[in-house]
């Protein structure tokens, strides 16, 4: 029953530098308690300006209408949907790390789960903006809720777009609750360390009076386990439901049954790439190399290699099925994707998502921080292009050649994509400054001395059991 009884003596320690419990508290808390680094001000002034531009552009969009985008017929879903799928995909890594790796008892997750979860929440916020502004009349967005209204109008529950709303809404709520639950013990730590009254009150309220007694931990741990258990099917279902937005239609290139697993693999792939990008920068700036070790990064690279191969498999499987189906429209859609007017986007996608992760077969490259940093950037770009390829190429050339078209983005499309990064990084920087970015209580729990049998006589027994 007890997973901590498995001997890990042969493995390298999860946390480097022979940390004591107090050293863990100190290292992580001091980031929040200490002086704000100048670099942080610089970073947030840039990302904050970009985020302001984002809100400005949304304001202009509401004023002017979605005609300011490059949307037309046949490409009536453009960058807004691409960005939505891209950000939701990124938002999958956090819950995967916190839920699935928790159930699989991957204890190395404790160093990265907090900020991966934070990243998830911010990515889903960015994602949620796009469909909301895409509806055009966003002031009647509440019509997607099944709420009684004066028109006696109810949503159509057979529509994947409505499923999407429920799936993403639930995902955001659950991820947020999960994140907050994990934060409570750490917020209590900050409350107990607080030196001034304002901090004491704020952290006191946020930590809801956590006392860390075993009578509380008992319920807490089960709540965590249950949330992990219900988040696991949820994280797999969200991108599956997103994929039904496409696959339930009859459009060639969209109407395929491989979409749900293909989207989920892609989501994990892109989410890990984004977690890695952020982790590599953060550990360097805040000197957290002992907590987020090269071993952690290597493990994540392995997951990216696996999911990258799954994505590559999906690309080739789509081609095979198009040929095997004997459907000329389906066949054309895929040949057009790889060799048509959007071939450049297709090959960027294949290069970034299939070729680049292959470097992780080599241990040396897998453990090289600069190499993996560059690779994750490529993967982030490649995964955006994947969604662009899926959304735009399929729409631009469907059944009738007379209704084909070519999509070009306007400056507003580009501005909103860049702007969403501004919002994302602003939220992330605020998180780094004001909340503990590494789950202190969980990291303490994986230190060797946390095990009550650590100094005891029964280490030999544990070896025998495992």
């Amino acid at each position: 029953m007890d997973n901590r009884m498995v001997s890990v003596a042969a493995e390298e320690p999860l946390i480097m530098g022979n940390q004591t419990f107090h050293a863990v508290t100190d290292t992580i808390s001091k980031i929040i308690e200490g002086k704000t680094p100048k670099l942080w001000y610089l970073a947030i002034s840039i990302s904050g300006s970009v985020a302001l531009m984002f809100f400005g552009l949304i304001g202009y969009l509401v004023w002017q209408g979605i005609g300011i985008w490059g949307l037309q017929i046949p490409v009536a879903w453009g960058w807004a949907i691409v960005n939505f799928v891209f950000w939701v995909g990124i938002g999958h890594a956090g819950t995967l790390i916190s839920a699935i790796l928790f159930l699989l008892r991957q204890r190395w997750r404790t160093s990265i789960n907090r900020f991966a979860e934070a990243m998830t929440i911010f990515a889903v916020i960015c994602a949620g903006v796009f469909p909301a502004i895409h509806v055009g009349r966003m002031w009647v967005l509440h019509w997607v809720f099944p709420l009684p209204n004066q028109m006696s109008l109810w949503p159509n529950f057979r529509s994947p777009l409505l499923w999407d709303f429920f799936a993403v809404g639930t995902y955001f709520t659950c991820s947020f609750l999960f994140w907050y639950l994990g934060l409570v013990p750490d917020l209590a730590t900050l409350r107990d360390r607080a030196t001034n009254k304002i901090k004491k009150i704020i952290f006191g309220i946020l930590s809801i009076g956590w006392r860390g007694g075993n009578r509380q931990w008992k319920h807490y741990e089960l709540a965590y386990l249950l949330l992990a258990g219900i988040s696991t099917p949820l994280v797999l279902s969200v991108h599956s439901v997103v994929s039904t937005d496409f696959s339930v239609s009859i459009l060639p290139g969209w109407h395929t049954t491989i979409f749900p697993p293909y989207f989920v693999a892609g989501a994990i792939f892109s989410g890990f790439a984004m977690v890695m990008t952020l982790a590599i920068i953060t550990r360097k700036i805040f000197g957290l190399e002992n907590f987020i070790t090269v071993n952690h990064l290597e493990k994540m690279n392995k997951i990216m290699l696996v999911t990258g191969m799954m994505v590559g498999y999906a690309y080739s499987c789509e081609f095979f099925i198009a040929w095997y189906s004997g459907n000329i429209y389906e066949q054309f859609a895929f040949i057009n994707r790889a060799f048509g007017p959007y071939a450049w986007a297709y090959w960027i996608m294949v290069t970034c998502n299939v070729a680049v992760p292959q470097i992780f077969w080599f241990k040396k490259l897998r453990r090289s921080v600069p190499v993996m940093f560059v690779a994750t950037i490529f993967i982030n770009i490649g995964m955006w292009f994947e969604r662009f390829v899926i959304v735009v190429t399929s729409l631009s050339a469907d059944f009738l050649p007379s209704s084909w078209g070519y999509f070009s983005p306007t400056k507003y499309d580009i501005g909103l994509l860049i702007g969403s990064f501004g919002l994302f990084f602003t939220l992330f920087l605020l998180f780094l400054r004001f909340l503990p970015m590494i789950a202190m209580s969980e990291v303490k729990g994986v230190l060797p001395q946390a095990d009550p049998h650590h100094h005891g006589h029964d280490i030999a027994n544990r070896r025998r059991d495992s």
Partner: protein, 178 residues
């Protein structure tokens, strides 16, 4: 501050998780009931050392998951069959297959909320004030301290007895809060 709140808590610090666990076993055997073991992270095996039963949160979550599931089916049936029937490709109004994603999502949503709020209710949180918060020693509970607390509403509570007993178990430091 609060005149009515006369509860006292004896807080004792132990050296390691192993010692805390041993102390927990002894305190339970001595017949104390209003005691708790505080640590910055959950210690495995502590539940049985303290003689605690498994948390009942699972039943709460299960109940609410089922409620969410039922509510989702009723909502979709009522909206699509009774309140606003829409003919779409001649499909039946009650197309239960298409209701699966929303049903699943709502079941998960209810379960997640029940897990969090159920945990809070079972732990009697939020509780922003507690006698132990006046103690300096107790601040270690969220940092690196392994603490035992015995509350004065324990039927066996006698301040000097408790202190002596905890020292005999190997407590490093003792403080009385409240």
């Amino acid at each position: 501050m609060n005149v009515q709140n006369k509860m006292k808590v004896v807080i004792a610090e132990f050296d390691s998780t192993a010692e805390l666990m041993r102390a927990a076993e002894k305190i339970r055997e001595a017949g104390y009931t209003k005691f708790d073991c505080h640590s910055p992270f959950p210690i495995h095996g502590m539940d049985s050392a303290m003689g605690l039963k498994r948390s009942g949160l699972g039943y709460i979550v299960g109940f609410f998951a089922f409620t969410g599931l039922t509510a989702a089916i009723i909502l979709q049936w009522w909206a699509s069959v009774v309140a606003y029937p829409l003919v779409i490709s001649g499909k039946p109004f009650f197309s239960y297959q298409a209701y699966l994603p929303v049903t699943f999502s709502l079941a998960v949503l209810f379960a997640a909320a029940a897990a969090i709020f159920g945990m809070l209710v079972l732990n009697k949180l939020p509780r922003l004030n507690h006698p132990v918060f006046s103690s300096e020693l107790f601040k270690k509970a969220t940092d690196d301290g392994f603490l035992v607390t015995i509350e004065s509403d324990d039927p066996k509570f006698d301040e000097s007895e408790v202190k002596k007993y905890l020292l005999s178990l190997g407590a490093k430091r003792i403080e009385v809060a409240g």
